[in-house]
């Protein structure tokens, strides 16, 4: 089964260790390789990208590695890709034109 790595117990996202398709179930593991349970993906998530382990509301922090590294700009349900289409920097954003380019190149499903 495709694995997703959760780096810290406080994290609300896990990182996909392989490409996974929409509707696929992934195994969430801890840094010590312990199983933390399974999760169904609401959309395709490529290798290295993050899946929401818990739902986030707008302004909620995205926590990775135990640290807030962004905030939600729209509701992010559990199992959704947490990336440029629904997360923004806490400090300094990249230009909107680049965000659109990333969404296009990655073929991200935007609701």
């Amino acid at each position: 089964m495709i694995k997703a790595l959760r780096l810290n117990a406080a994290d609300n996202v896990a990182t996909l260790l392989e490409d996974a398709g929409k509707g696929e179930t992934v195994l969430v593991i801890s840094e010590q390789n312990e199983s933390l349970g399974e999760l169904k993906l609401l959309q395709a998530i490529p290798f290295g990208n993050k899946v929401a382990l818990r739902p986030m509301n707008p302004e909620d922090h995205l926590i990775k590695g135990g640290v807030a590294v962004g905030k939600a700009i729209k509701p992010v349900p559990q199992g959704q890709l947490a990336h440029v289409q629904n997360i923004r920097s806490l400090n300094l954003d990249i230009p909107e034109v680049m965000i659109n380019e990333i969404i296009t190149q990655m073929e991200i499903e935007v609701d």
Partner: protein
């Protein structure tokens, strides 16, 4: 790894390579520099592609001079065209002061390109003889200064290659060596961690100030800023803070002794062994020139993407991205991404490879291609407009 076998320089430093630098002080002299280099094995060309004028470009010229006094450099030949402002002695003087042999040539005075090349080949022969006669010594590991850089970062950088290099850096510091990382904009959002690691509140204040200067440099109100590349994002990084935390991981966990400034007025060097931050640019090619100027003999470079090489400072490549693993990569950290290998193992692999490289083994791509060694970073005129002081 208590000692390494290297080239003893007159200024007390020890190089892991024995190279001769040919400096084209202005871009018009580049063809001449290349022609001489082609016939001089072990030479590297550094060209100032920016301008033949001095004003505004002091930081870049200072970087060139300091790169020529890197421990890996035995001596230098400085060439200019002769109609610009950068007199060769301006560059050669400080290099000569470190006890390295230096020759200068001005094309116009030498009656043109062909005769300058002829004369350059004659003069460089003496420098080659000096390099060949340089004594090799067993140097203590305290003479080793390692540059640490990440590039083409993706999600694997933060999870596998950066923390492995960070752990290797911690071990190097414990052995008594020094290491330095740069790219201050990519420490944005890490201030709370850096505050804990700075050896004094003054060092932390300096870190905070220089990160904010770098933010000013890259983000001018009303303009767009690229804190990360499209490649970074497709690789899985969403925000600058996420990239920053991954980037910080490569610096390990040891106390940060200081942040070394690189600007028009000064280029700071470490005074006690340990872990340092610096103002080296986040742009890979230019950063190698900064690392060379700081005096690093070797660079550990983590990557999720493609990469640069540098002829002055050998680059050891570490990657955790399985799509990238080919013969260019020195250290394969992909096992960590599969949950099959540990940071501990990979950090030991890094130290083993590093020990080889500082004792003369070539990195995977050491002999291939060349870096231009050009650097356009802090134009003093722009710095002034941004109210960034050079002191």
């Amino acid at each position: 790894m208590q000692t390494f076998r290297g080239y003893q320089r007159a200024d007390g430093s020890v190089g892991i390579r024995n190279l001769i630098m040919i400096i084209a002080a202005d871009e018009c002299a580049e063809g001449i520099a290349r022609a001489i280099s082609e016939k001089t094995p072990g030479s590297v060309v550094v060209t100032n592609y920016n301008t033949c004028m001095y004003g505004g470009n002091e930081e870049m010229i200072g970087t060139m001079i300091n790169a020529a006094t890197n421990p890996n450099i035995a001596g230098a030949l400085v060439i200019n065209m002769g109609c610009g402002s950068i007199a060769p002695d301006l560059v050669a003087g400080p290099i000569r002061a470190t006890g390295r042999p230096v020759e200068t040539l001005t094309c116009i005075k030498e009656s043109g390109t062909v005769s300058t090349i002829r004369e350059g080949l004659k003069r460089i022969a003496a420098i080659v003889d000096h390099a060949n006669a340089t004594e090799m010594v067993d140097a203590p590991i305290s003479k080793l200064f390692v540059g640490i850089k990440c590039g083409g970062s993706d999600t694997s950088s933060g999870i596998a290659s950066n923390p492995s290099v960070g752990l290797a850096a911690d071990k190097l510091i414990d052995m008594g060596a020094s290491a330095v990382a740069g790219e201050l904009l990519e420490l944005l959002g890490c201030e709370h961690i850096l505050k804990e690691r700075a050896v004094t509140p003054e060092v932390f204040e300096k870190i905070e100030q220089l990160i904010s200067d770098e933010e000013k440099r890259w983000h001018v109100e009303g303009t767009q800023v690229e804190t990360m590349s499209v490649g970074n994002s497709i690789g899985g990084l969403t925000t600058i803070e996420e990239k920053s935390l991954g980037a910080l991981a490569k610096t390990g966990s040891k106390p940060i002794q200081d942040i070394l400034r690189i600007n028009a007025k000064k280029l700071e060097k470490p005074d006690v062994p340990g872990m340092y931050l610096s103002e080296t640019t986040m742009l890979c090619g230019g950063s190698a020139m900064h690392f060379a100027a700081l005096g690093c003999q070797v660079i550990l470079w983590t990557t999720g993407g493609a990469g640069f090489n540098n002829p002055i400072v050998p680059v050891i490549r570490v990657s955790g991205n399985s799509q990238l693993i080919n013969e260019d990569i020195d250290i394969d950290a992909t096992g960590i991404m599969r949950g099959e290998d540990s940071l501990e193992n990979v950090s030991e692999e890094i130290l083993k490879t590093l020990a080889g490289v500082i004792n003369g083994e070539k990195t995977a791509i050491e002999d291939f291609g060349y870096a231009y060694c050009s650097l356009i970073q802090k134009d003093q005129r722009v710095e002034r407009l941004l109210s960034i002081p050079a002191e």
